[in-house]
Amino acid sequence: MKEVDNKKRSWNYGYFSVILFLLLWEYVASQSIIDPIYIGTPHIIMVKLYQMFLKPDFYDSFKNSAQAFFIGYVLAVVFGAGFGLLLGTKKKLYQIMSPFVFTINSLPFVAILPLIIIWFGVGLVAKSFVVFLMVVSPVIIYTLDSTKTLDEGLLLMSKSFKASEWIKLKSIYFYHSLPYIFSGARVGVGRGIIAIVVSELYGFGMGMAYYIQYYGSTYQTDKLMANILLIVSFNFVLIYLLKKIQKKVVFWR
């Protein structure tokens, strides 16, 4: 009961701090303490956001970004989880592949965007590939790490039943790793969104970030902020959904 109360209170604080921040922002902008051209004004940003929703080209740009995001993201999570499990359970494969995985994880991906243009052009495939590269490494690393935390007792039990490697992988390691796969996937959401924004700013197709660049260069700060707000909301919604799905799927924790 106490735990529930604490949870409720922390949520209230969360709402409270956001509302306070918006009020302060509105005040600072409307009183021109900081010129709204630099920071926008919250109520105007909301109006612009509403107007954006009414325009059909908004949906085209959103679709452009979201499609590339989801293709790259889903492929990265599925591949990352599978590959992470293999790396975690096959010592030799781990020794061979781990240098590449950790290189991809620390790759300054902006530096290889020109290379990706040479390989895939600037369309949907290229953008999805950038998302894939950014998301796949945390999923692999989280999954790989999870295999090291498997209870020795479960391993001994499966060994005593002479369980095949495939049964161990699908019936034990996979389920044990699920919470960690979700953690990797959550980290991947932010990285995937950064990948979409940066690649679009770099000229990969006309998505949400294209408009951010356009509004920025024409000093339409409110519209620029409306776009940023939308991208941030997209991030929050995805993370919220992932948490909900995790709660359903990983019910034993």
Binding site: D151, L154, S160, F161, I172, Y175, F251
Partner: protein, 232 residues
């Protein structure tokens, strides 16, 4: 069913010799208890019989004579249930490892759960079960595979005294009913007396083997009183 001839086991990493020239045999359907103080090699012996050691873990001398491809199942002290599987699916796990299809595995598991008194709990998950129930599922998972030899590694030591007595009686009834050859490791003499036909005592420099008249133990001593008495 099983013959142990001059068996010696030494751990490679520590150089510690835990079993020294051990000899005994187990007949089909016999229940043998292995007793002895901690570190005398009881669990090591079970792991050797179940072939659970990697080749780089131990030096093994002597012979373990078993039927070729003997189906050996072990019940550990910890239930080691898969937390993401319900009771029924935990029991079918052993059958899955033998590539037995669901059409056969599920009725078999259901039947075994009936034997251990958990019919109503098929859909429960491990986190919803008591320690005693978990250990019943653990036992059911092993016996549903119809093992040639069942190894019990102190399966009752984590249970409280009252539950322990019920479970030992239930397990014994099932083992005898199914005529399962069983080797049972314990440090509790009363458990050994109730459950086994023969008791082997392992010590640092000796091995004692005695026939156990458990019929007598069951009638003269009330096992429950005796358990309480021994465990203080």
């Amino acid at each position: 069913m099983l013959k142990v001839k001059n068996l010696s086991i030494t751990y490679k990493t520590t150089g510690q010799k835990v079993i020294n020239s051990l000899n005994f045999s187990v007949e089909k359907g016999e229940v043998v208890a292995i007793m002895g103080p901690s570190g005398c090699g009881k669990t090591t012996l079970l792991k050797a019989i179940a072939d659970l050691f990697e080749s780089n873990e131990i030096f093994q001398k002597g012979e373990l004579v078993l039927k070729k491809d003997a189906n050996i199942r072990i019940v550990f002290q910890e239930a080691n249930l898969l937390p993401w599987r319900n009771v029924l699916r935990n029991v079918t796990f052993g059958l899955e490892t033998q590539n037995i299809e669901d059409a056969i595995a599920i009725p078999r598991a259901t039947n075994t759960l009936g034997l251990v008194g958990l019919s109503k709990y098929e859909k429960y998950f491990p986190h919803q079960l008591s320690l005693g129930m978990k250990q019943r599922v653990n036992f059911a998972r092993a016996i549903t595979c119809e093992p040639d030899i069942l190894l019990l590694d102190e399966p009752f030591s984590a249970l409280d005294t009252v539950i322990k007595e019920d479970i030992i009686r239930e397990f014994k009834k099932i083992i005898k009913q199914k005529h399962i050859t069983t080797i049972f490791v314990t440090h509790n003499e009363v458990e050994a007396k109730i459950l086994s036909d023969k008791i082997i005592t392992l010590g640092e420099n000796f091995t004692g083997i005695r026939e156990n008249d458990n019929t007598k133990a069951r009638t003269i001593l009330d096992p429950y009183d005796n358990l309480l008495e021994l465990e203080g």
